[in-house]
C-alpha cells in the first residue's frame, strides 16, 4: 500500500498547475496601471489634500503607478506626475463585501470600469430605478438634491481655508 501516494502522480501535477495559476493571478494583479474611478479626482503635488492641485483626472483615465505612500499613490498621467488618493484609483472593486476577497487575492486594478457600468445597466438600484421612483413620487425634491451635489469647493480655496485655520493639510 502506498500511503504517500496522495501527493504523487497526476493529482500532484494538477495541484501544482492550479497553484501556479493562482500565483500568476497574484503576479498580474500588481499591474502598473490603474483606472481612475471617482469623478472629480484630482492630481496633487504632494500626498495630501492640502497640497497644490495639479489638475483633474477624468473618470476612466489610466494612470501609471510610480510609488505609494500611506493612502496615496504617485502616478503619471499624460506626462504629468503627481499624487492621487487611493480611493480614486481603488485596487478592489467597489461593490461591497461580496467582492472584497477576490480583489484582495488578485490585488487587481479597479474593475468597475465604464464597461462594467454598461454591463450593470438594468441591475440593482440604477439611474433607471431612480427615474421610475421620481416619476412615482413627484413630490420628492430631487432638484434640491442636485443643487447640493453641484456645490463644489475649489481645491485651492479649500487648501487656503485649511492653512488659515491651522488645520492639517
Amino acid at each position: 500500500m502506498r500511503r504517500s501516494g496522495e501527493f504523487r502522480g497526476p493529482a500532484l501535477w494538477f495541484l501544482l498547475f492550479l497553484l501556479a495559476g493562482l500565483a500568476a493571478g497574484l503576479g498580474t494583479g500588481l499591474a502598473e496601471t490603474l483606472k481612475v474611478e471617482q469623478p472629480n479626482a484630482q492630481l496633487y503635488e504632494s500626498p495630501n489634500f492640502g497640497s497644490r492641485p495639479l489638475g483633474a483626472l477624468p473618470s476612466g483615465a489610466e494612470v501609471a503607478v510610480l510609488s505609494r505612500s500611506g493612502d496615496w499613490v504617485q502616478v503619471n498621467y499624460q506626462g504629468k506626475t503627481g499624487w492621487v488618493h487611493k480611493t480614486s484609483v481603488p485596487q478592489t472593486p467597489a461593490r461591497g463585501p461580496g467582492l472584497g476577497l477576490p480583489g484582495m487575492l488578485t490585488g487587481g486594478p479597479v474593475q468597475q470600469t465604464k464597461g462594467d457600468e454598461v454591463a450593470l445597466a438594468g441591475k440593482g438600484f440604477t439611474p433607471e430605478v431612480e427615474a421610475a421612483y421620481r416619476q412615482k413620487n413627484p413630490g420628492m425634491n430631487y432638484a434640491m438634491v442636485d443643487q447640493v451635489e453641484q456645490f463644489q469647493v475649489n481645491p485651492a480655496q479649500l487648501a487656503a481655508f485649511i492653512r488659515e485655520g491651522g488645520l492639517t493639510p
Binding site: A11, G122, K123, A132, N141, V148, L167
Partner: protein, 290 residues
C-alpha cells in the same frame, strides 16, 4: 471510495475553492442560500450572485433619502453659509476613514430651527440652521459634521436596509431574472427601492440608529477631528447642548442617554486650551451669517 481518493478530492476542491475567489460572481455562501430560495420560489434556476450594496447603489439610495428630507425642509440658499459648511465638512471628511465616496461629500443647510443633522448614504450631509446656531465655534460645527461623516464611513444608513429585501434586489436584478421577466423587473425593483428608502429613512430620521452605531460615530468623530487639526473636545461640548427631551433620529439621538454620550466623548478627548488658530477659526465662524 478509498481514503486516498477522498483526500485527493478534498485537496482539489480546496484549491479550486481558492481559485474560485477570482471569479467575481461567486456567491457568498450564507447569502446565496437565501437568494436561491427566492429564486426557487419564482421558478428561477440561475445561481444568483450575492453581493453587498455597491457604491453607486448606495449613492442612489442616499439621493432618495436626501430628496425626502428636502421635501420636508427647504434647502438654505445662503451661499456664504453653504460654502463655509462645505469647507469645514471637506476639511473633516478628507481626514475620515472614508475620505472619498462615489460622488464625493456634499453639505447642505436645512432651513429649520430644529437642531439636527443627517448623513444620507453615499455622502450628502444635511445640517439644520438650528444646529449650526447651537454651535459656538467652528470646531463644534466640525464635530457635528465629523460625526455624520462617521455614519457614512460606517455605512450605517445602508446597513439599515432589510436583509431579506436586499437579497430580493439581487435576485430580481440577476441577469436570468431580467431575461425572464423583461419589463416586469423594473416595477419589482422600484418596489424594492421604495422599501429600501423606507428602511433607511425610518432608522435614520424617525427612530434613530442603535446605541452602538452612535457610539461608533462619536468615536470616529473624535479621531477624525484630531487628524484634521480640530479640537476633539468640541464633540463633548456640542453634545452637552443637546436637548434631553424626546427621541427620534439624527444628531441629537437620545439613546445612548445624553449624559452617557457626553461623558464617553469627554473620555475620548480631554479638554485642551484653545490655541491661537482655534481663535482664528472661531472668528471666521462668527463672521458667517447663518
Amino acid at each position: 471510495m478509498t481514503l486516498k481518493t477522498l483526500r485527493i478530492a478534498g485537496l482539489v476542491v480546496g484549491v479550486l475553492f481558492l481559485a474560485g475567489f477570482r471569479l467575481p460572481s461567486l456567491p457568498v455562501p450564507s447569502e446565496a442560500g437565501k437568494a436561491i430560495d427566492i429564486g426557487a420560489k419564482t421558478g428561477q434556476k440561475a445561481v444568483v450572485a450575492s453581493r453587498g450594496i455597491s457604491d453607486s447603489e448606495e449613492y442612489y439610495v442616499g439621493r432618495a433619502v436626501a430628496a425626502l428630507l428636502l421635501s420636508k425642509y427647504p434647502l438654505s440658499q445662503n451661499r456664504e453659509a453653504t460654502l463655509y459648511v462645505n469647507e469645514v465638512g471637506q476639511a473633516v471628511a478628507q481626514k475620515s476613514t472614508m475620505p472619498r465616496t462615489y460622488r464625493g461629500y456634499h453639505f447642505g443647510i436645512l432651513e429649520t430651527s430644529d437642531p439636527n443633522a443627517y448623513a444620507c448614504p453615499g455622502g450628502i450631509i444635511l445640517v439644520t440652521r438650528g444646529l449650526i446656531q447651537k454651535c459656538q465655534n467652528e470646531d463644534e460645527l466640525a464635530a457635528v459634521l465629523a460625526h455624520e461623516v462617521g455614519h457614512i464611513a460606517n455605512k450605517d444608513g445602508v446597513n439599515s436596509i432589510n436583509r431579506a429585501r436586499w437579497t430580493e434586489v439581487l435576485t430580481t436584478a440577476g441577469t436570468e431574472a431580467a431575461r425572464q421577466y423583461g419589463g416586469g423587473v423594473a416595477g419589482q425593483l422600484l418596489t424594492l427601492f421604495d422599501g429600501a428608502i423606507d428602511d433607511v429613512f425610518k432608522t435614520m430620521v424617525v427612530n434613530g440608529y442603535s446605541r452602538k452605531a452612535e457610539e461608533n460615530a462619536d468615536r470616529a468623530a473624535v479621531t477624525t477631528l484630531t487628524r484634521a487639526g480640530y479640537n476633539p473636545a468640541a464633540l463633548a461640548a456640542i453634545l452637552g447642548k443637546m436637548n434631553t427631551q424626546g427621541g427620534g433620529g439624527g444628531f441629537f439621538r437620545s439613546h445612548p442617554l445624553t449624559a452617557e454620550r457626553v461623558n464617553a466623548a469627554k473620555m475620548l478627548a480631554r479638554e485642551a486650551p484653545a490655541g491661537p488658530k482655534e481663535q482664528v477659526r472661531t472668528k471666521r465662524f462668527q463672521q458667517v451669517r447663518f
